[in-house]
């Protein structure tokens, strides 16, 4: 389990990285935290001609909050996010979910940009990007563009990024102080990828729901925004019946694949169960 040979470049700037990616014409991989890519290299499941390591570009690591948006440099470590006061206050959902990403030594290296660009549908960060309707900034030879969550994820481990583009920033809208959030996840072991994860944001007073945001991890080839379930809550409020209806709707909205850990039917079932649990827990955290 040793990587095949590759050229290695550690550019000092994003522009330099883009130029290098162009030079390899799709046969280079961007190395961010490496917590998903290096295992693939070690198994020789990935054999790029070159690695373009972003770890020597200090300007890609930051957390900035302004105008209701929290912006993360792509190379911001998950560990930094876990302990960030800004994130705790403005994006408590992200704080909670970050503690579910692998284990602390994984989060030491793992980055927000890497996790999202890797596009593992069982991972927490893509689900949050989908739930919050966030966007990423992508830079390529033709300049910069922003890509919304729903346009970013295409299928397993595949985004709409071009091979010579670099994801440079993740933008998540800050969550209203009065809203409640929860990330409910079920995995076989602590720190494993989710069998199903549900990101939930609930706003509104009492039984009324002014806004609901729900998205999945693990329920298909890309994170699924559960808009039809959100609408039930926004329309019918947060009583037992609408919550149950929203959970049932959530299960209908997903079409997960089967794998050795969970059948499709079980994942659909879990989507409903965890949607209900996430909604209830988010509700209870409102206004705190």
């Amino acid at each position: 389990m040793k990587p095949a040979k590759f050229e290695y470049h550690a550019p000092g700037s994003v522009d330099e990285a883009i130029a290098l990616l162009g030079r390899y014409e799709g046969d280079a991989k961007v190395l961010a935290g490496g917590q998903s890519l290096v295992p693939l290299l070690n198994f020789r499941l990935s054999r790029p001609a070159a690695l373009i390591d972003l770890n020597r570009i200090p300007s890609l690591a930051y957390i900035r909050a302004d105008d209701g948006v929290v912006r993360f440099g792509a190379m911001t470590r998950q560990r930094t996010i876990e302990f960030s006061d800004v994130v705790r206050q403005r994006l408590p959902l992200l704080s909670e979910a970050t503690r579910l990403v692998g284990h602390l030594p994984i989060r030491t290296r793992g980055t927000i940009g890497g996790s999202i660009a890797h596009a593992d549908p069982s991972a927490e960060y893509p689900a949050i990007l989908a739930a919050l309707d966030g966007e990423v900034v992508v830079k390529g030879p033709k300049g910069e563009r922003t890509v919304k969550a729903r346009e970013l994820f295409q299928t397993y481990l595949t985004t709409s990024l071009e091979s010579d583009e670099v994801l440079t920033e993740v933008r998540l809208p800050a969550i209203d102080a009065g809203a409640g959030t929860a990330f409910e996840e079920f995995s076989r072991r602590h720190g494993d990828f989710a069998i199903i994860g549900i990101a939930a944001v609930i706003a509104g007073d009492g039984a009324s729901c002014s806004m609901a945001r729900l998205a999945t991890a693990g329920a298909g080839p890309i994170p699924v925004r559960l808009r039809a379930a959100e609408e039930i809550l926004e329309r019918d409020g947060l009583g037992d019946a609408p919550i149950a209806a929203a959970a049932a709707r959530a299960a209908e909205l997903v079409d997960p694949d089967s794998d050795i850990h969970a059948s499709s039917a079980y994942r659909k079932h879990l989507t409903g169960v965890l949607t209900e649990r996430a909604v209830r827990r988010a509700m209870a955290k409102r206004g705190r």
Binding site: K2, R44, R189, G191
Partner: protein, 745 residues
């Protein structure tokens, strides 16, 4: 070194093109089976079992591969990186054959054959009969039947297997991550046609074994053969993928079992038929029978079973070979028997504890239906104490308070008895001539007064350096700090096989006592001579001797030892010089360890998730040498049992391709999944072993899966769900609950 391993479960090997690999810079050599044919002889595990077919153990597959991961080409290069590059550059013309994916398929008349020359995939059968089981079943008030399934499991030591071979003018030294250096030495002598005294096998600090490292492996032979061929040391460090693909695997049995009882819950008879998926080869030296025979041997458990028929068949498939794993067969046997008893108790409205008490063996020695002699057992005592520690009644009270909540509590019990310290009366398989029943110890006091105790055993985390030193120090009368234990090196100790089967305390400890007694006797004679007293009046403790009642005048062990080697000038007349002894011990039948496990679980019905809240073990492992080490062995074993019950499963698809080839998919438990585990020891010395020791290394893994399965069945009992398949994964619970959900509309 790296291996090209078969990507196919079953295929003929055509042309192998090594040209580009051999041409790579840094590659020393690439060889196939043909290149080693003249220098390496096949090994076979002998046995007189009916219908048994032995298979060849060779370093590389010739002509045909029989499981995914089987080594086909060995590449020696200057680094593992380059060796893997070379493996990638090898082109093999494969002719894939239809695979045999599981034991049921293998039994079908039209099934392809793993080994064509046998004309069958059934490579062994064995049966134990006692009494007349048919009338017992026919006339019983209650008969419970179930088909049980225990899925395939990996031992998964955290250190992967590894071996390093170096030859010089004196012969071969092989460093190997093995539990059985003695067996490997003997096997290499045969395989490589080298005299045994030219081979030294060293198992230094070995990073866990759990049975996986107690067989002889192709890779060990390959490094030795290749090192001889290239004239340089050759090292193979197996990686995790190789470990999951090509180390021996465990369990994977289907058991049809029927238990007959009278109206009071007294067992009348037991019948079981075990179908074991033994993989592609019959491993050396254990044969493919090791799991299945132990299942049928131990199914009756610690209970009086007046009529028994246990039949087992080992069926070859295109999977990695089945081998010993902690508990060997007994985790499966215990799961089946304890599940049957709980089913019977539910039908009869009996407390699970009560049905066990009504059937426990209480007279010893007791000959079990499979012919094993139980010398002792504290079955009811372990059960009662475990129930108290687990707060059984408290769990029952909490269950009724919770009613039909989403999170259900369950409590489950499992009692078992295991044969440990197995002596020569019980061979590894019928007719097997490997020396699993004896073990030696050499105890030597050197002229500086320090003691070296050397063993053929090999430690891989059991703490023999501590426990065997304690035994020697206590028996001989030496200071603990003066005793050094040497093990895991075939050139440094007496003949022995290694450490497996909960044998080291009993056999190694017994041999250590015998040798230490011999040395002590001689030391007393020398001390008596120097103190001018009778040897019977000498005290020898903490490395000093004195005449009883006169502790002021002492001779040290060092002085005694110096005299021993100085010879006639200092020794009593006629006493042979030297102060060392080598003794061997054979416990003949062995002895009986027993325990009761109680697991308390919570089942989240909506998630199908089981959480073990606490786990209690009360065990009788005989005289305890070191309580902390016993506790560590037991807790570690329980953790593996929890993994086996809930998380760990080697999954092969219908093409016999391993779907769990990484630790993302094969799931040993982390600290988070393991609850606090309470262990209590009953100190009941064995009546039949020297020292009174009973083995303890495996027990934790034997009892835990059964207790957890019963606890889950208890939690789900009111829903009509009983667990018959392990591991009981969330998806399986979901399906069990869904299949029993009341249909509406």
């Amino acid at each position: 070194m790296a291996f090209l391993r078969s990507p196919h479960a079953h295929a003929r090997i055509g042309r192998v093109d090594l040209a580009s690999a051999r041409a790579m810079p840094g590659v020393v050599t690439c060889v196939t089976a043909a290149d080693l044919r003249d220098t390496v002889r096949p090994l076979r595990a002998a046995s007189r079992m009916t219908g048994y077919h032995a298979t060849d153990l060779l370093p590389l597959a010739a002509d045909k591969v029989r499981y995914q991961g089987e080594p086909v080409v060995a590449v020696v290069a200057e680094s593992r990186y380059v060796a893997e590059d070379a493996v990638d550059a090898i082109a093999v013309e494969w002719s894939p054959l239809p695979p045999v994916p599981d034991a049921r398929a293998a039994m079908a008349a039209e099934s392809p054959l793993v080994h064509e020359e046998f004309g069958t995939n059934v490579i062994l059968t064995r049966a134990f009969r006692h009494g007349d089981v048919d009338p017992a079943l026919a006339g019983a008030a209650l008969v419970v039947r179930e088909r049980f399934r225990f899925r395939r499991h990996a031992a998964l030591p955290i250190e992967n297997r590894a071996a390093l071979a170096a030859w010089n003018a004196d012969g071969l030294t092989l460093w190997s991550s093995t539990q059985v250096p003695g067996m490997v030495r003997d096997a290499l002598a045969e395989s490589l046609a080298v005299p045994g005294h030219r081979i030294r096998v060293v198992a230094p600090d070995v990073g866990g074994g759990f049975g996986l490292k107690s067989s002889v492996y192709a890779e060990e032979i390959a490094v030795a053969a290749l090192a001889r061929r290239v004239g340089r040391p050759v090292k193979w460090i197996g990686d995790r993928r190789e470990d999951l693909l090509a180390s021996t695997q465990a369990w994977d049995e289907e058991i049809d079992a029927t238990l007959a009882l009278d109206g009071h819950g007294t067992i009348r008879g037991l019948r079981a038929s075990v179908l074991a998926d033994v993989g592609a080869y019959s491993i050396v030296p254990w044969t493919a029978s090791i799991e299945v025979i132990q299942v049928i041997s131990f199914l009756p458990g610690p209970y009086r079973v007046p009529a028994y028929l246990g039949e087992g068949a080992g069926v070859a498939t295109n999977k990695a070979p089945m081998g010993p794993y902690r508990g060997v067969g007994r985790p499966v046997a215990t799961f089946v028997m304890e599940s049957l008893l709980d089913r019977a108790a539910r039908r009869l409205g009996l407390d699970p504890r009560e049905i066990r008490r009504r059937n426990f063996i209480t007279e010893f020695p007791w000959r079990s239906p499979s012919g094993i002699v139980w010398d002792s057992g504290s079955f009811a005592e372990t059960l009662d104490e475990a129930a108290r520690l687990a707060d059984w009644d408290g769990v029952r009270a909490a269950q009724s308070l919770r009613g039909d909540a989403t999170r259900r509590l369950g409590v489950g019990v499992a009692s078992y008895v295991e044969l440990t310290g197995i002596g020569s009366a019980i061979p590894a398989s019928p007719g097997a001539d490997i020396a699993t029943g004896t073990e030696g110890a050499t105890v030597r006091v050197d002229p500086t007064g320090t003691v070296t105790a050397s063993f053929g055993l090999a430690c891989h985390g059991q703490g023999h350096e501590t426990t065997l030193a304690q035994v020697v120090a206590d028996t001989l009368g030496a200071r603990l700090d003066d005793v050094r234990v040497v093990h895991g090196d075939t050139s440094a100790g007496p003949i022995g096989t290694g450490t497996y089967a909960s044998r080291s305390a009993v056999l190694g400890g017994g041999a250590a006592i015998l040798a230490s007694r011999s040395v002590r006797e001689k030391a007393l004679a020398i001390a008596a001579h120097q103190l001018e007293a009778d040897a019977r009046d000498i005290e020898l403790q903490e490395s000093a001797a004195w005449v009883r009642g006169a502790p002021d005048r002492r001779v040290s062990l060092r002085e005694i030892a110096r005299s021993a080697y100085l010879g006639a000038r200092r020794l009593p007349k006629g006493l042979e010089p030297g102060l060392e002894a080598t003794r061997y011990y054979d416990p003949f039948f062995g002895t009986a360890s027993s325990a009761t496990h109680i697991a308390v679980v919570e089942v989240d019905l909506a998630l199908g998730a089981v959480t073990v809240l606490r786990h209690v073990v009360v065990e009788d492992c005989g005289r305890v040498i070191n309580p902390r080490i016993v506790e560590g062995q037991t807790i570690g074993g329980v953790a593996q049992g929890i993994g086996g019950a809930l998380l760990e499963e080697l999954v092969y698809d219908d093409q016999a391709q391993l779907a769990t080839g990484s630790l993302m998919d094969y799931l040993p438990p982390t600290a988070w999944e393991i609850p606090p585990i309470v262990v209590r020891h009953l100190d009941r010395p064995s009546p039949s072993t020297i020292g009174g020791f009973k083995g303890v290394g495996e027990g934790g893994t034997i009892g835990a899966p059964a207790a957890i399965a019963n606890a889950v069945s208890d939690a789900l009992g009111s829903l009509g769900v009983e667990i018959a398949e392990l591991p009981v994964t969330p998806d399986r619970i979901f399906r069990l609950l869904a299949s029993r959900a009341p249909r509406t509309g």
